[in-house]
């Protein structure tokens, strides 16, 4: 175990090409999926939290249901849709980073939507009432609401990114964990551990832990800033 950790540190320090490729695919997938989920989840969350409209209750139930979908089930659905017998097979997306991003967007967007909906529900009343009293337009009111939500938006992004980078079920099903193509940190840890290559697994695990620590520190700082 000790020598595996030593080898892992050496791999990180030497900039091992395979390790760098895994990190690059992971970064591309996690950054893209969390950013797309943010662009979808923030306006949807603000809309659900700040506005009352027909069908809102249904959308809330749907969002909560999607939050509970197990990643492997999400992966299975995407696999069926894009596989050789699926209705979307002509897009040739199975076992690509693009479909991994798509699956993660479906998993992360409901989390961000719920995160923003909870916050918007708390502040929308005073924000809107004050703006109405000043005769501000709906667009300006929305921009103010967005500005009031800037810390929750950032913390939501960090949450989404943390979820994306640590996700394994869906990405392994739709990405196939193909070396040098769709292998990300989590799938690679599983793969190399199964093969007995502990050093690369541990190296990736260490990087994941450091990233997770960094995310949590950033979140704590943000929460402190919001509270003050």
């Amino acid at each position: 175990m000790g020598s595996a950790v030593e080898q892992a540190v050496q791999l990180i320090a030497s900039g091992d090409r395979e390790l760098l490729n895994i990190l690059s695919v992971t970064a591309r997938m996690s950054l893209s999926s969390s950013l797309i989920a943010l662009l979808l989840g923030v306006p949807l969350g603000l809309l659900l939290g700040a506005c009352r409209f027909p069908g809102r209750g249904l959308l809330l139930v749907l969002n909560r249901t999607l939050m509970g979908v197990p990643p492997v089930v999400c992966g299975l659905i995407f696999y069926i849709l894009f596989s050789g017998v699926g209705p979307l097979r002509h897009l040739h997306l199975l076992f690509t980073v693009e479909i991994m991003i798509l699956a993660q967007v479906v998993l992360i967007t409901p989390l961000l939507t719920s995160h923003m909906e909870t916050y918007a529900a708390q502040i929308a009343g005073p924000v809107r009432e004050t703006a109405k009293g000043l005769g501000l337009s709906r667009w300006k009111t929305f921009l103010l609401l967005l500005n009031e939500s800037r810390y929750p938006i950032f913390s939501g992004y960090l949450l989404g990114f943390s979820r994306a980078i640590a996700e394994v079920g869906a990405v392994s099903m739709v990405g196939g964990a193909i070396a040098w193509k769709t292998n990300v940190m989590t799938t690679a840890i599983m793969q190399y551990t199964n093969r007995g290559n502990f050093s690369l697994g541990i190296a990736l695990g260490l990087i994941l832990l450091v990233l997770s620590l960094g995310m949590n520190l950033a979140l704590s700082l943000l929460q402190r800033k919001v509270a003050s």
Binding site: V127, E129, T130, K132, G133, G135, L136, N147, E148
Partner: protein, 218 residues
């Protein structure tokens, strides 16, 4: 200006019923009544924050209504930026900040102000705009005596300078007597009495208003 008759219910329970009203420009109206009498609901419907039953308009089309909610809110912008939301006139903003004694806090984030400071900032922010009708819902509730006097002076000045009609919702009979030209008295969701302040606030006609004054006005 005319306000059209409306009713507002919550969960089938009538909260307030108001007949047609005519408000005069350049006049300050005190809206008085006990807690739960419908004063705030009345003001929130006219401000457009609440929809009346039947969703019919309650003000004339094109009427500019300014409204200060009971609980003042400072956006996560600087105090000066908050004031510039209603109008880009920086000179006016500087004058108003001085009037509410907040010039030294112009660059401070508004959400970090104290309750009294937020209330003064919110009043200055509202007075940056030009309105035909202004509604202030208990603007001095969280203020000390000095700030209250400052606010009353600024309110009087705003009405005189802009010629707007102003509805001041207040639980303070003394404040209503100090400021109002006319008064509206609400009781259990009904507008029971309206008229010159000298009559409604000193020699009311309705027995319920007399009882209210004898209880709160001594």
């Amino acid at each position: 200006m005319n306000l059209y008759a409306f009713a507002k219910s919550f969960g089938g329970q009538a909260a307030v019923t108001v007949p047609d009203l005519t408000l005069e420009a350049g006049t300050l109206y005190a809206v008085i009544g006990a807690n739960g009498s419908g004063k705030s609901t009345f003001s929130r419907v006219i401000a457009g924050v609440l929809s009346p039953d039947g969703r019919r308009p309650v003000t004339e089309a094109g009427l500019r209504v300014g409204y200060l909610p009971q609980k003042s809110y400072g956006y996560r912008l600087s105090v000066l930026q908050n004031l510039l939301l209603a109008s880009r006139d920086r000179d006016q903003a500087a004058r108003l900040l001085e009037a509410v004694q907040l010039s030294h806090l112009a660059g401070k984030p508004a959400h970090r102000l104290s309750g009294g400071e937020t209330a003064r900032m919110a009043l200055a922010r509202l007075f940056m705009g030009q309105y035909d009708l202004v509604i202030l819902d208990e603007p001095t509730a969280s203020m000390d005596m000095e700030s209250t006097m400052l606010t009353e002076q600024l309110t009087r000045q705003y009405v005189a300078e802009t010629g707007c009609a102003l509805l001041l919702v207040t639980h303070s009979l003394q404040q209503a007597r100090r400021l109002a030209d006319k008064a509206l008295y609400f009781h259990k969701g009904q507008l029971l009495e309206q008229g010159p302040a000298k009559t409604v606030l000193y020699e009311p006609q309705h027995p319920e208003t007399r009882q209210f004054l004898s209880f709160y006005g001594s």
